[in-house]
C-alpha cells in the first residue's frame, strides 16, 4: 500500500505492508519493521526495535493531526505521487486568517510599491495587513470593505512590474 503525506509543502512517499500486528514501513529506502496496537481510537502504541512510539492521531477527511512527543503535526494525505506542491511564496496575497475586511486601501489599476498596505483584515479584534510583495499594478481586488474573508482566499491580484532590461 502506497501512501503520500504532505506537510509544510513537502510530500513524503511511504509504502506500508501489514501482517497481523506487524507493519513494514518503507520510507527513504529504509524499511522500519514495527508492531502496533490501537489502544483506544486514535491512540497508537508502536514498538520499533526496543523503542516505543506513542502517538495520537485524528482524521478529518484527508487531514490528519499527529500528536507525538508533545509536538503536533498537521498533515494531509494526498493522492498524487512524487509531486511537490509549493506553498505560500513571495507574492502570495491570500488572507492569512478568516475575518472581516475593514479597509481596502487600493483600487484596480493602481501602481503600488513593495510594502504598501493594500487591505486590512480584522479577526478576533486584531488587524492583519496585506502588503504589496513587490512593485506592480493592481489587476483585481476580490473583496470590499466589510466582506467576510476566509483563510487562504486571494485578497488582491497584482501584476508584477517587469524588471528593467
Amino acid at each position: 500500500m502506497f501512501i503520500n503525506y504532505e506537510h509544510n509543502s513537502h510530500v513524503y512517499n511511504i509504502e506500508v505492508e501489514r501482517k497481523k500486528n506487524q507493519y513494514f514501513v518503507t520510507y527513504n529506502n529504509n524499511i522500519y519493521t514495527v508492531e502496533a496496537h490501537e489502544i483506544k481510537p486514535g491512540y497508537l502504541k508502536i514498538r520499533l526495535g526496543d523503542r516505543i512510539i506513542k502517538c495520537v492521531i485524528s482524521e478529518n477527511g484527508d487531514n490528519r493531526f499527529v500528536f507525538i512527543d508533545g509536538d503536533v503535526f498537521r498533515v494531509k494525505r494526498i493522492q498524487l505521487t512524487g509531486m511537490k506542491k509549493s506553498s505560500r511564496k513571495e507574492g502570495d496575497l491570500t488572507s492569512p486568517i478568516s475575518g472581516r475586511v475593514v479597509r481596502v486601501k487600493t483600487k484596480k489599476g493602481d501602481i503600488v510599491k513593495k510594502g504598501d498596505v493594500l487591505m486590512v483584515i480584522e479577526s478576533m479584534k486584531m488587524e492583519y495587513l496585506i502588503r504589496a510583495p513587490y512593485d506592480g499594478r493592481i489587476k483585481r481586488i476580490n473583496f470590499r470593505e466589510n466582506d467576510q474573508i476566509d483563510m487562504g482566499e486571494i485578497t488582491v491580484e497584482i501584476e508584477k512590474k517587469r524588471k528593467k532590461q
Binding site: A36, F67, V75, S98, G99, M124
Partner: protein, 500 residues
C-alpha cells in the same frame, strides 16, 4: 450578611466555567448567557439556567448591555459577574446594572471609568505618589500632536489605546518613520475594539519586566494584596506565561510594591478584586502602568500559592461581606506557573487557528489545574478570543514547577486546530527562562521566526501515520457518526468507523 441566591455570568469560555463552579459550590444558582455558536459550550452545559443572546457577533451578544440586563431581569438574577474582557471594564455596563438594581460584581462604575482612562489613571497615581512612566497622556488626539509628542519622548515608544487592554490597539515604534502609520493603526484598532480611538504614548523601558499585584478590597475599607505575579513572557503584548513569585523579587521590593499597590487602590476607593500592573526596569525601579478593575486571566497562580479563592471572595465582597483575610496572615508558598493555551500558530505570527476540536486530552495530576471552556467536538470560530484553556501548575519551588509544566505541556493533546502548546514548552525549556532571566522582550529575543520542526516531519510521525492509515483502510465504509435522533443538536462527533 447573605450571599446572592442567583448570579448571571456575562461571559463565555473558561472564565465563565470557573465562576459558575465557584457560585455552585457556594450554593448560588447560576445563569449562563450564550450566543448561537456557543449553545453547546461547557459554560452552557454546567450552568443551572441559560439565556440565549442570539447573533454571535460580540456587539450583538456578550457585549450587548441591554440584552444582558434584560436576561438578568428575566431570570431574577440578583447580581452579574462580568468575568474578564467583554463588559468587565465597561463603566456603562456597571452603571446599567446599578440602575437596574442588579449588583455588579466588580468595582464601582466611576472607579472603572477612572482607571479605564489610562491618562486620568496615571495622573491620579502621580498624585498618590505612585511612580509612573514618562509619556504623553494628553487629550489632544490629532495625529500631528501625537506625532510631535511621540518624537519628544523618543524611541522606542509605546502607542497604546486609552481604553485598551490585552494588546489590542497597542504598537511599539522603534523609529520615527513608522510613527504616523502606527498611530493611525492603533486608533483604528482602538475604535473597533473599544469604541473609542483615544491613545496615549509612553517611554518604552530597557529590560522591562511586567510585574503586577493582586488586590482584594471590601466595601468596608479593608484592603489586602495577595503578592505579585510575574507576567513578562508575552507575544504581541499579550501575556502567555505567568508565574509567582517573580524570580527577580526580593522581600524588601515585594513589601514596597505591595504597599504601593494598596495605596493605589486606596487612592481611588477601590472595591472588589483588582490588579495593579507595574513595569520594573533592569535596576528594579518600578512604575505604575495600569490598574485592571476585574478578575485577571492569571489569577489562578495567586490562588495556588496563597491558598485563597479569589473568585469566591469577589462574590462575598459584592454581597457586602467583610474581608476576614489579614495582610500579616497571608502567606505565599511554593511556586506556580500558568500557560495560556491558544488556538494559534506560533510559527505563523501567532495567527489564530480556527476549526473543530477533534480530540482533546488534558494532562492531570497533583497540583495541575486546567481551566478550560472547550471540549472535544466544539468549533473554534473567529468570533471570539482564541484562548482555549489555562494550564496552571504548582511546585515546591520554581524548578519543580517548571519541570511539572514541561511534563504537563508535553502530554496535552489538542488535535483539530493548531495550538501554541509545543511553543510554550520550548519557552519553558529555554535556559534563560530556567535562570529567570526574562523581560517582556523574551519571545522576540529568543523565539523570532520560531518553527516547530526545521527538518520537516519526523520519521516517527510518518511511521505512525502509515500504520494508522493501514489499520483503517476502509475509507469507503467510513460513515459520519450520527445520532439516531434526527433532532439531536449534537454535532462534530468526529468519525466512527464501522466494522463487520
Amino acid at each position: 450578611m447573605k450571599l446572592f441566591s442567583k448570579v448571571l455570568i456575562a461571559n463565555r469560555g473558561e472564565i465563565a466555567v470557573r465562576i459558575i463552579k465557584a457560585c455552585q459550590e457556594m450554593r448560588i444558582k447560576t445563569v449562563a448567557v450564550y450566543s448561537d455558536v456557543d449553545s453547546k459550550a461547557p459554560h452552557v452545559q454546567i450552568a443551572d439556567e441559560t439565556v440565549n443572546l442570539g447573533d454571535p457577533t460580540p456587539s450583538e451578544s456578550y457585549l450587548n448591555i441591554s440584552k444582558i440586563i434584560d436576561a438578568a431581569e428575566s431570570v431574577g438574577a440578583e447580581a452579574i459577574h462580568p468575568g474578564y474582557g467583554f463588559l468587565a471594564e465597561n463603566p456603562d455596563f456597571a452603571q446599567a446594572c446599578e440602575d437596574s438594581g442588579i449588583k455588579f460584581i466588580g468595582a464601582k462604575p466611576e472607579v472603572i471609568a477612572l482607571m479605564g482612562d489610562k491618562i486620568k489613571a496615571k495622573k491620579t497615581m502621580e498624585k498618590a505618589d505612585v511612580p509612573v512612566i514618562p509619556g504623553y497622556h494628553g487629550l489632544r488626539q490629532d495625529i500631528s500632536t501625537l506625532v510631535k509628542e511621540g518624537k519628544k519622548i523618543g524611541f522606542p515608544l509605546l502607542v497604546k489605546a486609552t481604553a485598551g487592554g490585552g494588546g489590542k490597539g497597542m504598537k511599539i515604534v522603534h523609529s520615527e518613520e513608522y510613527l504616523e502609520e502606527a498611530i493611525e493603526s492603533a486608533k483604528r484598532e482602538a475604535k473597533s475594539a473599544f469604541g473609542n480611538d483615544s491613545i496615549f504614548l509612553e517611554k518604552y523601558l530597557d529590560r522591562p519586566r511586567h510585574i503586577e499585584f493582586q488586590i482584594l478590597a471590601d466595601e468596608h475599607g479593608n484592603i489586602v494584596h495577595l503578592f505579585e505575579r510575574e507576567c513578562s513572557i508575552q507575544r504581541r503584548h499579550q501575556k502567555i506565561i505567568e508565574e509567582t513569585p517573580s524570580p527577580v523579587m526580593t522581600p524588601e521590593l515585594r513589601d514596597r510594591m505591595g504597599r504601593a499597590a494598596v495605596a493605589a487602590a486606596k487612592a481611588v476607593g477601590y472595591t472588589n478584586a483588582g490588579t495593579i500592573e507595574f513595569m520594573v526596569d533592569g535596576d528594579l525601579n518600578f512604575y505604575f502602568m495600569e490598574m485592571n478593575t476585574r478578575l485577571q486571566v492569571e489569577h489562578p497562580i495567586t490562588e495556588a500559592t496563597t491558598g485563597i479563592d479569589i473568585a469566591k471572595w469577589q462574590l462575598r465582597i459584592a454581597a457586602g461581606m467583610e474581608l476576614t483575610l489579614k495582610q500579616h496572615e497571608l502567606t505565599q508558598r511554593g511556586h506556580a506557573i500558568e500557560c495560556r493555551i491558544y488556538a494559534e500558530d506560533p510559527s505563523n505570527g501567532f495567527l489564530p487557528s480556527i476549526g473543530v476540536l477533534e480530540k482533546i486530552e488534558v494532562p492531570t495530576g497533583p497540583n495541575i489545574r486546567n481551566d478550560t471552556g472547550v471540549e472535544t467536538g466544539m468549533e473554534i470560530t473567529s468570533y471570539y478570543d482564541p484562548l482555549l484553556s489555562k494550564l496552571i501548575v504548582y511546585g515546591e519551588n520554581r524548578d519543580d514547577a517548571i519541570d511539572k509544566m514541561i511534563w504537563a505541556l508535553s502530554r496535552y493533546v489538542v488535535l483539530g486546530v493548531t495550538t501554541n502548546i509545543p511553543f510554550l514548552r520550548k519557552v519553558l525549556e529555554h535556559k534563560a527562562f530556567r535562570k529567570g532571566d526574562i523581560t517582556t522582550h523574551f519571545i522576540e529575543n529568543h523565539f523570532k521566526n520560531w518553527t516547530l520542526s526545521k527538518d520537516g516531519l519526523p520519521v516517527d510521525a510518518l511511521i505512525a501515520l502509515a500504520v494508522y492509515d493501514s489499520m483503517h483502510p476502509g475509507r469507503e465504509e467510513v460513515v459520519r457518526y450520527k445520532e439516531a435522533d434526527p433532532h439531536s443538536p449534537w454535532r462534530h462527533a468526529g468519525r466512527w468507523r464501522i466494522g463487520v
